[in-house]
Symmetry: D2
Subunit: 156 residues, 4 copies
């Protein structure tokens, strides 16, 4: 084996953290939205986002698209945790309560199913009072490639 | 009738234009995303958005949340055309092809059904080459209230 | 008050049971599919269905429509528990694993949200080995009317 | 080439017809529901189904699951037209109007997108008066295998 193909083996919790760091570094979109990665673990991610004045729509509520964006980011971190490059193939969101300027939204994403190349992830979006603002379900599709070349899960 | 309840009656095409103008004025979110309202008509809206560098995710593609946001805005303009205050109750998006920095996305939303308080709207999102980037379906819910107080449709 | 408007007040668990009994009696569809109501409670229902040979599609798997039908029935029992007439406005299903002839499917539905006239319910569909076969999410809409005239919840 | 690998090449319209015939023959579920294949073509299928008394739910309407089942069958015929074995990965249905006993429902499915292994198909479900009863969107996934071994599309 050449040095180029040397593999580093790490445990799941460490893998989730390193993949999240690698994704975050290049995720201009989530950064520009003011998101924070609050917690990551295998098959799990929790992100927060304060609602700014430039996020309000014509009804003076947080644009539903930005609530979706937060949920979609939490989904991305949850489904890319194992260093297998994974993209969203679709997503559905239920808008349950409006979010206002100054609210801090939290999206908590968890894996519900993963088999072969496809997965299903649920995210709940709550505000700072714990009220449910939206429910999200995303479908993932794993494509060839790694987020961090050479990194893989240690066999348990 | 008092002056407060004076009603102005206009034709549908004019109504769609005036409701879109009223919504756009307060829609900081769509403005901040660099969207343009390209065309509005009864039950129909077409909006465009160039993909900027601050819209890219960790995979160097336009964050799916912003594609959803564009679609959701086109849906909002299509379902609020008649001055009845209408919000999104849910939305589903299929991501079909990635969008890159510099692409100009167009979302074209059309009413598929409206009965009572609820409606279904479809939007197709294409890039500047006409490639289909995503398909969106939104469910709307009409709440009490008007976008422009006192404005209503002329009887045909 | 006249006799016609006499109201009977019962506790939630009893209400869920009586509404389920009333619905089941008239639900020819769920009966013809061989479903069983295994358990009902406020905001919750669990139904089972064996996969028969006349439920197989051209790929020799249980037709996805029948898996949806089981999930949709569990959703109907969960969202009609309180004697307020409630219908499905939409439903989404993720097919995760095939079901075969002789499998016994169980759908477990739970309320995730209810506000005003609308609600969101999730159902998980598993087989007799506990494998996840499908995930369902339904949106409900409450219309005027009662399942059992005159029956209402006792104030707690 | 051995006889086993002999390939027959046919034009698209013929392929759609032969794949539909092969699927229909084994589709006990669609047959038991009283469906009829009205028309098939590449990326397209139209099926009908009369609403029978054993299809009614506890609200005396056609069970939504059976409307989904009809839509799902039309989707299956539309996405398997080219002899590449294709299954549903998910489906979403919007229920717009009730269907009653004696109504004849028609589901018309069309391909909206297909790339690699995945596709998106839309179906509209109408009754005998042309009223829109439901809208369906399905996501397909192509797996290894052929419906009719050895049959392929002639190059155009």
């Amino acid at each position: 084996m050449s040095e180029q193909t040397a593999r580093e083996r790490i445990v799941p919790a460490e893998m989730a953290r390193r993949c999240a760091d690698a994704m975050w570094q290049d995720d201009c979109a989530s950064q520009a939205m003011g998101m924070q990665v609050e917690e990551v673990a295998p098959r799990y991610a929790r992100l927060s986002m304060p609602v700014r004045s430039d996020m309000l729509n014509g009804h003076a509520n947080c644009h539903g698209g930005f609530i979706f964006t937060l949920a979609d980011s939490s989904f991305a971190f949850a489904c890319n945790w194992s260093n297998r490059l994974t993209v969203a193939s679709s997503g559905t969101i239920e808008f349950l309560a409006p979010a206002r300027e100054g609210d801090v939204l939290t999206a908590t994403a968890e894996e519900r199913s993963r088999a072969g190349r496809t997965g299903v992830y649920d995210a709940a979006i709550t505000n700072q009072r714990g009220d449910l603002v939206a429910l999200f379900r995303g479908r993932s599709y794993t494509v060839p490639g790694e987020l961090i070349p050479g990194l893989e899960l240690a066999e348990s």
